[in-house]
């Protein structure tokens, strides 16, 4: 969100590992093998994949549209169906009541059967609820080995990290403050002091 328009929340990563020779061919193969797959016509709950950075409907990448040397520009498209809890409760109850009607008087459905009916209700609802689409922009500077993701929620970071590693097989390390500080101070005496630093504690003047 926001790397190309609006307000940007940026999560920074360092990309490590050795990319193979023929880097752009490698990227082309891996991007195309891991593009977004539509779940509009099935009951999958979630789908995660690459699309164009500026158009979540474009998964063709004509003329290697993701390449702006030295940058790789991608969109991470996440489609997800969410079944509202209240809706699931209602339809699970309807299923249970329907099944109960077939039983002899006095007999009750067992726990396992109730769970099966709940799953049935859930699948029925998933087929009727359209997935919600979200696009997270990714800018990968292959010269610097640095990558920016336009998003910062824990869930999005997990989905992105998993899909990136699955797609490219390269290491992805978040640029956390202490690691950034270590890089900034590399080679200086302050690096050892950084490791040993202790908090100031409350700021108060001795009277």
């Amino acid at each position: 969100m926001g790397l190309l328009k609006g307000r940007a929340s940026i999560t920074r990563y360092t990309v490590g590992g050795e990319p193979p020779a023929g880097f752009w061919d490698f990227i082309d193969r891996r991007v195309k093998a891991n593009v977004f797959r539509d779940i509009e016509n099935n009951t999958d709950e979630i789908s995660v994949g690459w699309c164009a950075i500026n158009d979540f409907l474009d998964t063709e990448f004509a003329f290697m549209a993701y390449a702006l040397e030295p940058y790789v520009l991608l969109g991470l498209r996440v489609d997800q169906r969410k079944v509202p809890a209240a809706l699931l409760k209602k339809y699970a109850r309807l299923e249970v009541e329907k099944a109960q009607g077939y039983l002899e008087e006095g007999r009750k459905l067992g726990r396992v059967r109730r769970e099966e009916l709940r799953d049935k209700a859930r699948l029925g609802l998933l087929a009727r609820i359209p997935p919600e689409t979200k696009l997270y922009e990714v800018i990968w500077d292959t010269a610097q080995g640095e990558l920016w993701l336009g998003g910062s929620s824990r869930k999005v970071l997990e989905l992105f990290e998993e899909h990136f590693v699955k797609s490219f097989g390269l290491d992805l390390t978040p640029r956390l403050p202490f690691l950034v500080a270590r890089d900034l101070l590399a080679g200086s005496l302050d690096l050892a002091r950084l490791e040993e630093a202790r908090p100031w504690g409350p700021l108060s003047v001795e009277s």
């Binding site: 940007a8 702006l68 910062s152 202490f178 950034v180 900034l184 950084l194 409350p202 700021l203």
Partner: protein, 176 residues
Amino acid sequence: MDLNEILNSKVFLGQEFLTWLWHLSETEGGAELGELNWVEVSLGERLVLGPAMGAEGARVTVSGHEASLAEAREALRQGKLVESLRLGLEIHGEEYWLSLDAAELAVKSLKLPSAARMGEEPEGLEGLVLERVAMIESTLKAMEGLLKMFLTTRLDAVEGPELCDALAEWAASGGA
């Protein structure tokens, strides 16, 4: 000690850094940051203070009006440090606004100077990407420059304690 333990044990540096940024905005008003030249630093409309690492206590959230800043200064005197803030940077005459929190120091809700709107043409997209990348890079460079400036002083055996004293005096001075 594994990396996660080290990272968790250094969260206080984020709190101290954000508190220093507030101090910097009210004293020097900015810093000389290499190729970026003089970068103006100003406090935005949101400031959250919380207990220093290891201490207990409630958070204080204030907006950046004068009356509220007095409240924030009082929280500082009571031993709290900045947990998150909205920060303004003026780089090469252009205004940038961003939110930072002490635990992550990740740049959030970054408002860049107005750029061309994304066009339909591929060359429009290319131009937009390069423009936005350059602006985001300037922001990240400025933040890294400020962090390095803070750490270099903070970790110095002589200047570190002096900086701590200077912040304590500033906190005690009460002006807002």
